[in-house]
Amino acid sequence: MSFRPVFIAVVIAFALILAAFLLNRARPKVETEQPTADLVRATGKCAECHTRTQYSVVHEFEMSMHARKGVNCLECHQPAQGQEKKDHHGFVISAQLTPGNCRGCHENIYQQFLRSRHSAPAWAAVYGEKGLTPEQVSFSETYQPGGTRRPPNPLAELEGTSAKTSGCDQCHSVGKPNTDGTVGNCTVCHTRHTSSVRIARLPTTCAQCHMGPDHSQIEIYEESRHGILFQAQEKLLNLDAPPQTLTTRDMFVPTCATCHMSGINGIGVTHDPSERLSFYLANMITDRRPNYAAAQARMKQVCSQCHTPGLVERVYAQAEQVVQTTNQRVQKAQDIVNGLRKGGVLTGPPFSYPIDFVFFNLWHYDGRTSKHGAFMGGADFVQWHGNYPMLEKTVQLKSMAEELRRQHGRVK
């Protein structure tokens, strides 16, 4: 009985088994060490089909930090609590993703976002409380008083559903209530499959919504020194720097996110821009926010990463002066319109008369622009898109009011 054939057979078998172990060991641990078999399977199974059907989605994901960290498709797409389940080629996925899927790893960020005006107040600015639960309204009112418990926007109601859906919703749905009980939509700023910090830091991302006559932030930024420097030096900046370790060496020119949200040079990151805002600049008559002093101190701390205290204080002093004068001008205009309503000259719902629109434009466009321009270094917007049109419209208001009183007197 010869031992040789058995020996060789066992050696061949063992060599094959060893090769299998070594091959498997070469696979990344982030792929193989998953809590469920389905999660392991999803790592490439999804891409196998979707590379052919929606290549850009797979490609965007491959470029993302999520992919680099070994997050796979199913980890985001598996149904979170309260979400509708969908049978999909051997997997059970969520039909619609919401912050309910993101919060599994990003709970802190979601909680910060919930406290901000990007959350329920953004939705309520169009729809009022519609769609929000009483608990969501109550929670939001705690942090943003008056932002959520309010009626629907009268202008939006007048313009109708298609204008709201294709117009207002596209921005204000950043705070939409979802069927799973969450609020908001993280992908508005972070995009879906790229989930990019770089994209979130770009001014153009904020400019999707923060633009136009009613909140001209991107136009003001582009006029400002910050905007000019960013345009010239964008390629020199490290926009991919991790949020926790971002410094002025990475971003020595600020974008929107730098001042309003980023944790630069060790300052804490926040997804609640309200933490650094001391005024309700968007309001008709601007008030200080409840956290005025602390918020202003936080924002000045960010400014101080690049600017001297003297400059920071000067900018704030001048801007607050603009706020005061704008308030006075808007108040005067409001007094004119209120006087007409009190005297029975103006009747009926809002936006029934041309003078309603003149007054609305005065505070909603020109007043806001003047205030935003003052805080963000947009001189032209303070003057020619702010104070000058306010002056012009005030004269128009007075003239229209006189004419309306004359007509009302004749009719009476």
Binding site: A20, A26, R27, A37
Partner: protein
């Protein structure tokens, strides 16, 4: 020719022929499941389905003519055999669009489409052609059968490794078919590379019987897993879940291997090797 004067149950070539017919027929169902994953998106995916459904008919007809009109047995066998080889090799070419050949990474290999699966057709085609071109009473015939068996176990090794790696070897038991097919390859390799004594053939046969057990156990595990699958429809679980037929390749190949070993054992060269030490 060995077997022609033997009783039918003692004719290895007949058993191999039946083996090939049953396998091609069974592939109908297997291909239907496999290409349902892709929902038969490419019309070419119907070709192996139609081939598997019709070829056994031709082979059965051929089998009925094997004794009286052997020429028809040969002609039909060659026709089906070479067609099977063509279907198999074409299938491999079409499966080569797999991302592995673009990315060439271990991840993409693990998750690529089973590019070598169509070789099952090629293997069966070669079996049919060989069965008509080589004397079934010869050692060469037995060794060809064992070579095809070993090829099948190499496929088992590669696919149990790749498919279970796609699952991250989530359960330790998923290493069993990898190790089992490696052992089968080892033993079958020796029967091909060298003259082996009868006891080694018996040991190899025992290994193959164990392989059959591994496969049946795997079939039970795959089925149980699919019955608990996430999809609402049981059929979807079987399409997109663990391939139910894959473990059955082990007993399937074990049968083929046992036929080859049986034939090898019956031949002169398999007598125990004797070293002459005295007298001459």
């Amino acid at each position: 020719m060995a077997g022609s004067n033997e009783r039918w149950w003692n004719q290895p070539e007949l058993w191999v022929e039946v083996f090939a017919i049953l396998n091609i027929a069974f592939l109908t169902f297997d291909i239907y499941l496999a290409h349902s994953v892709n929902q038969f998106r490419n019309p070419a995916e119907y070709i192996p389905l139609l081939f598997s459904a019709t070829s056994p008919v031709a082979l059965i007809v051929a089998l009925t003519q094997r004794v009286r009109r052997r020429i028809w047995w040969k002609i039909l066998g060659h026709l089906v055999g070479w067609s099977a080889i063509l279907v198999g090799l074409t299938g491999v070419s079409l499966h080569l669009e797999s991302s592995f050949f673009y990315e060439r990474t271990i991840q993409s290999l693990t998750y690529s489409a089973p590019f070598a699966a169509p070789l099952a057709y090629a293997g069966l085609g070669f079996v049919l052609v060989m069965n008509r071109m080589v004397d079934p009473g010869s050692v060469e015939w037995a060794r060809w059968i064992l070579l095809f068996t070993m090829g099948g176990f190499i496929g088992n090794f590669i696919f149990s490794l790749a498919d279970h790696a796609a699952n991250g070897f989530f359960l330790a038991v998923e290493w069993v078919p990898v190790a089992a097919s490696a052992v089968a390859i080892g033993f079958l390799c020796i029967t091909l590379l060298t003259e082996v004594p009868r006891w080694f053939i018996d040991v190899s046969a025992a290994v193959l019987i164990l392989e059959a057990g591994v496969g049946l156990w795997g079939f039970v595990l795959h089925t149980m897993g699919n019955l608990r699958g996430p999809s609402v429809h049981a059929f979807d679980n079987f399409i997109f879940g663990a391939p139910p037929m894959a473990p059955l390749l082990f007993p399937n190949l074990a049968v083929l291997g046992l036929i080859g070993l049986w034939q090898l054992r019956n031949k002169e060269y398999a007598e125990p090797l004797v070293t002459v030490t005295q007298g001459t």
